[in-house]
């Protein structure tokens, strides 16, 4: 089967507009989750990781000029701006790739332009904009992608499923390149829903910690350029060596009690990559900081024989970015691999899960060869993907 390489990537979160900017914040230990008290946005005080709107609009206007688009910037929604900026950063040096018939575009999102249901946006944007395929059409048209995008909406594993889907279509030879992007925005819609579940923490979230009280929501976008052709020599090539999903078949809003199903996905990707648990250098966990998720995940990690492997959750830095999470956190994990750096799991102080997991407590250099990224979500879904250096 053809190996699939990651040629370029981008992350946009509260911590920056490129992978390098985000990594630099991780290096400095900066956390992007803030207390927000904006009555127009949400009736109550809330912890959120938000992308800087002034910077977003400035950068977006600049990109409009690059593509010689004679369209006002405010005719695009916040989410569309995030997607376009993120994709632009990834393909700006490979611009012909977008217009190649052998390039696939895969888009991951849980809620798309859901904020357009709010009364304040109804007069500005058409109802059609709420449809995820319309979001896909706008992104496709902006860059001139030849093929209709594949759109994945599978709760919090959407981003990992998107990378997996692109990988399989590249391995089968159906396409040579894929742009895989995942994005979601913070909205009253989603905040109110998680709040009704009493799933939100009143402090920045603390994945795997004894005193964790819930998740922090975030927004952002992550993008990868994948190819069956190995990258240039200046970056150490990283490829996708396996990917799988499973379902708990247990409960629609609570994870498995045993972690067996996530563990099955983890074991499957190790088998696909032909590696033993001892050869895994690092785990980028889902780690939402809800009581049940982290508990289940720690059991799954232990069941997979990976309790010794250094593990972190990036959600303590930029919150849970939902449909973006699988992409954003994968890009951060791949950055860690390339740069032989392990980042501390922000918010973690005292071990607070029943299975022994090796949570990273300080940023430090380490020799890394392979990384497993996991994700789980509503609907009982689990996903695992493995990134490996050549």
């Amino acid at each position: 089967m053809k190996p699939v390489y990651i040629l370029n990537d981008n992350i946009i979160t509260s911590l920056g507009f490129t992978t390098a900017e985000n990594a630099s914040s991780l290096d400095s230990g900066i956390i992007g989750i803030r207390t927000i008290n904006d009555q127009e946005f949400y009736p109550g005080q809330i912890q959120l990781s938000l992308v800087d709107t002034v910077q977003l609009d400035l950068k977006f206007s600049a990109v409009l000029k690059v593509y010689q688009k004679n369209i006002p910037a405010d005719s695009f929604t916040r989410l569309e701006k995030l997607f376009i900026l993120s994709i632009h950063d990834v393909i700006k040096d490979h611009i012909v790739i977008a217009k190649n018939a052998r390039t696939l575009l895969v888009i991951s999102t849980t809620k798309g332009n859901i904020n357009l249901l709010e009364n304040r946006f109804k007069a500005i944007f058409s109802h059609k904009r709420l449809y995820l395929w319309e979001l896909g059409r706008i992104i496709r048209q902006f860059f001139g992608f030849v093929n209709t995008p594949v759109i994945i909406s599978n709760a919090c594993i959407s981003g990992v499923v998107a990378v997996m889907t692109a990988t399989r279509f590249l391995q089968s030879g159906a396409f040579d390149h894929a742009v895989v992007t995942g994005g979601d925005i913070a909205s009253e819609f989603v905040i109110s829903g998680f709040q009704s579940f009493q799933a939100l923490s009143t402090k920045p979230c603390k994945p795997f910690d004894l005193n964790r009280t819930g998740l922090s929501l975030g927004e952002g976008c992550g993008t990868m350029l994948l190819s069956t052709i190995s990258g240039t020599a200046e970056v150490s090539p990283v490829r996708i060596a396996g990917a799988a999903t499973t379902n708990d078949a247990n409960h629609i809003s609570g994870p498995s009690r045993t972690g067996e199903e996530l563990s099955h996905a983890i074991k499957t990707v190790m088998k696909q990559a032909m590696v033993e648990p001892g050869q895994i250098s690092y785990i980028s966990a889902h780690g939402t900081a809800t009581s049940f998720n982290d508990e289940m995940e720690s059991k799954a990690v232990e069941l997979s024989g990976l309790a010794h492997v250094p593990l972190n959750s990036f959600k303590g830095y930029w919150g849970h970015t939902l449909g973006a999470a699988g992409l954003v956190e994968s890009v951060a994990a791949v950055f860690s691999l390339r740069n032989n750096t392990l980042y501390r799991s922000a918010g973690f102080e005292i071990p607070g899960v029943s299975a022994p997991v090796n949570v990273i407590t300080t940023n430090h250099p380490a020799s890394l060869t392979s990384c497993i990224k996991t994700a789980s979500g509503f609907g009982g879904c689990n996903a695992a993907i493995i990134y490996q250096k050549d």
């Binding site: 909406s153 599978n154 009704s196 629609i252 509503f378 609907g379």
Partner: protein, 216 residues
């Protein structure tokens, strides 16, 4: 290896077709809720959770239930069976319901039992719970039914040995407009086509998916 559609169901416009035969039709029903309830009762399904589901889950649940009544998946281990669904409007029907609970600041009462259904893949979760399906799952969005995409996606699952059987299809609900189609796909050598209905072997390909969707 050839893959075969071993059973299918289509629910649309107050009509239910299973493996090509008309199972249910009532001309005078105007409400979606009445349609799904009538089908549930006629088939004498017993599953109290059904009444808690949102519209899209109810419709998808019925479509899967009817398929698996025709052709059992009991011979497979839970991890060998996958489910891949698609639609056009994601969970917009329930999104609108959730939004109605929050769009007025003086009546701000979001409910977890509504919010949990504001994701399209919840229908997959419901069917997985009902039938102990634990394999690959994904929900894809396209403007209109895309038999090629669905077929390509599921073919890759078989090619990569991630599934030995897979439910796949389309489930779309917006207000009282609704369409669901679910097919069961199996490897040809392991599959025995339903004797009860006498469904002629149909290759699993985009052409046949489009045919099932349009003819019914």
């Amino acid at each position: 290896m050839n893959r075969i559609i071993t059973a299918y169901s289509v629910l649309h416009d107050n009509k239910v077709i299973v493996n090509g035969r008309l199972l249910f039709y009532q001309e005078n029903i105007t409400k979606f809720a009445d349609f799904v309830k009538a089908v549930f009762k006629q088939e004498q399904f017993s599953y109290p959770k059904f009444y808690k589901m949102d519209s899209i889950s109810k419709l998808g649940f019925l479509a899967a239930e009817l398929v698996l009544k025709e052709k059992t998946i009991a011979g497979y281990s839970p991890l060998e069976v996958g489910m891949v669904m698609s639609n056009s409007s994601s969970s917009l029907d329930t999104d609108i319901t959730h939004n109605e609970t929050i769009n007025n600041r003086s009546a701000f009462f979001p409910s977890p039992s509504v919010f949990v259904y504001t994701l399209p893949n919840i229908i997959i979760g419901e069917v997985c719970i009902r039938h102990r399906i634990k394999g690959e799952n994904a929900f894809l969005i396209s403007e209109t039914f895309d038999g090629n995409l669905l077929c390509d996606y599921v073919d890759e699952l078989f090619n990569n040995e991630r599934v030995a059987a897979c439910l796949c299809g389309w489930v779309e609900v917006l207000g009282d407009r609704n369409t669901a189609m679910v097919v069961l796909v199996e490897n040809s050598e392991q599959s025995q086509v339903s004797e009860r209905s006498g469904l002629k072997p149909m290759l699993f390909n985009a052409e046949n998916l489009n045919f099932i969707m349009k003819r019914n």
